[in-house]
Amino acid sequence: MFLNTLFVMSALLTVVCAVLVLTTKNIMHSCVFLLGSLIGIAGLYATLGADFVAVTQVMVYVGGVVILMLFAVMLTGGKDFISKAQNLMGLAPTMGNTWTYAVAGLVGLVFLLTNIQLLSRLGTMSKLKNDGAFESTVNKIGHLLVKDHVLSFEISSVLLLGALVGAAIIARPRKQ
């Protein structure tokens, strides 16, 4: 019962926040709703018994990425952000217009239909083998990371390093 409740709450949070990301008029609000959506996904991970992934999700995304985004938004406020000019949908110029939303809606619809087509073929592929018992995955993941997936692990560490350095170099103001 707890699992079901958690699932429904998380799913609702995820979906509603995601839709709000799409529809809200303010980029700052968008970021905050993204936060909500990501937390919801963390909850979904929890219902799937993926405790480590859920925690990582909260730490990295909520604690890192979204904060980064918020900083970026604040740093790039500029005239687009300040501008009171609004288009037909009442959005700031950078937040899209009827035309882009129409295209997006169309493409989204096409893709949705495609996915539904795929899902409909899922059929009796599997049912939840819910044995009820929950065991922590941290230990197993740790083993897996340093045994089976060690190469990927190393590469991702290099990637992170590269990203760090790269981001620092790119964002550094150049001397004219």
């Binding site: 882009t100 493409v107 096409v110 893709f111 495609t114 087509q117 795929l118 073929r121």
Partner: protein, 720 residues
Amino acid sequence: MEYSIGNIAPIFLCPFFAFVINAFFGKKLPRQGDWLAVLAIFISFIFSLRIFLDFAGSTFATDYYIHKVFNWFDLSAGGQTFKVDMGIYIDNMGAIMLLMVTGVATLIHLFSTWYMHDDPRYGRFFVYVSLFTSAMLGLVLSDNLLSVFIFWELMGFCSYSLIGFYYEKEKAGDASLKAFMTTRVGDVFFLLGIVAIWQLVGSVNFVDIYAAIAEGKFVGQQVLGISLATFAGFCVFMGTIGKSAQFPLQVWLPDAMMGPTPCSALIHAATMVAAGVYLSLRTYPLMVAGELTQFIALIGAITAFGAATIALVQTDLKAVLAFSTISQLGYMVMGVGVGSYNAAFMHLITHAVFKACLFLSAGSIIHSVHEQEMPKLGGLRKKLPYTFIAMMCCTLAIAGVPFFAGFVSKDRILGDALFWGVFAGQSKIWAIVPILGFAGAFLTAFYMFRMMFLTFFGKPRDHHIYDHCHEEHISFNSNVPLLILTVFTLGFWYCGTLTGQSFGKVFGSKTEWFKILVEAPRVERFVGRTREPFSAVDTRVKAELPKAVYEHQTGYVGPAAGDEHGIHKAHLIGAIASIFIAFGGIFLAFLMYIKGSVKPLADTFSGWTTALKNRYYFDDFYVGVVIQKGMIPFNRFLAWFDMGVYDRFAIDGWAKVNRVAFRASRWFDDVVVDAIGVDGTGVAVNLFNLVLRIVQSGKIQFYFVVLILTLASYIWTINL
């Protein structure tokens, strides 16, 4: 009289040679060669007069004709045969027509030497007019529809050139383009009709067509789901609609007044526009076989009435005459439709005479005062007495006042229309035709006298113009042609009696010569006729036989005895009505424009007046909607599609695909096959760049869309 080639061909060839000589050497000849043109047409007139006197003077035989053919070209080869013959065909109607055309043309040529004298392109005017006259005469002499079409188009070309004669004016260009294109719409149908008839009959000779109708070849023939006779008749009649400016192709004639006035008199009043009616008279049996008479009558009635209403509000002298021409042509077409063959042709001739005279009078006025807006004229009676006399007689004629030609012919058309619409026992709905006809006659009388009163009566409204008008003197080339034409506006020339009825005979036994000479061709009499070669000398020996003997020999049966009583009654009613209507119209005009006791109704019916001033919006519709809104944007779209889409994507796109394929195969060659090739990578990068360049718009979101749609289509493809 002998009908050898030497007696007939000069009618056509004299003006033609005048055209050729003037076209090449006109500038070097004295007086720019005008004397040559006048002389040529006068010789034609003499030859035509001989033929006319022979046809009209010998014993009356209505269906005698001269028909000579020669082979134009022959495509027979192998097992195939195909020949195209040309020839000459003269019957009573043709002889009268020849006389009218050459006579009127001679006088107009003479008048032009005065009217056009100061024009910088004096010589060129005569070049065009000579070509036109020869084409018109060629049309009258033609024995088949194909040569009719050839001369018909040549006249169209001359009309085009003469309307655009003052080519410095942008409007002249518009008007000439409009005239040519509008008539061309009808002509294209005409050509289709010719082709359709040719397919069935094997030629488009009048004699063969009549014989085919008599033999019932048209019965049961279908084309595109309708009867062939109807189809062909309709197509040929469309030619008439275009050339004779009938509804709905009437728009070009008023604009055609951009040309010099003598050309308006010759082409757009007397001859070319009448050629349309002439054609429908020639093909009358086809129209009957195709059951088109009601349609023709309706078209004629609508045109006669509609054009008359528009003429009510015109202020330009020539525009009034132009609309009255359309209206009168409508009467002729109506006459064809109601079976009033003889009267329709008589109206063609009488109208040619008085309308040519009216235009020449208008030309005389314009030349004298350099103004053609009626509100600025007035009181010119004293300054231009001879023009006044001529114009007054013609106006009386066109208004349908007894003793004048117009009364005789129009009254007969209206009488026949009345019989046809009311007494002949067909659906009462066709009574609309005589009603429109009589209403139009009333309007005609009214607007013609409005024009007369505004121009010649009252006080001069613009003294500057009035004072600058020269006093008119008798001169052989300015007003003598008018006065000669005026003589022929009297009715007795055509009907033999002063009144058009059976009392007051002038010509003795030859009374009603016109009625006896001209009647609808009786097709059964054309079966089995042999063709005479062109060189044969034909004499009218057969026709010299006394009428009774001739009729006995040839099995002639008089006109079908119809409802004599009904016809007589209709004509009596029609005649009385015509007289009252004519005088009523004149009286109304008198009250409005001389006495001033009745106010013009323009303000009372302002909406109606606006519609009239805009000519019922036909021009706006054709030019503004059909062409500007329809044709041109469509054409632009098509041209853009052709070059911007089809060529760019389908053809050049194909080239691009090929180029990619070439590059790919080169890459394959360099990198895979020739694995050692060190610069294979470079080629690959090039290829990659090339592909990128094609799809790269620089808009990242576009890539998203493409990506997703590609993915979706891929999934759909493999999944379904």
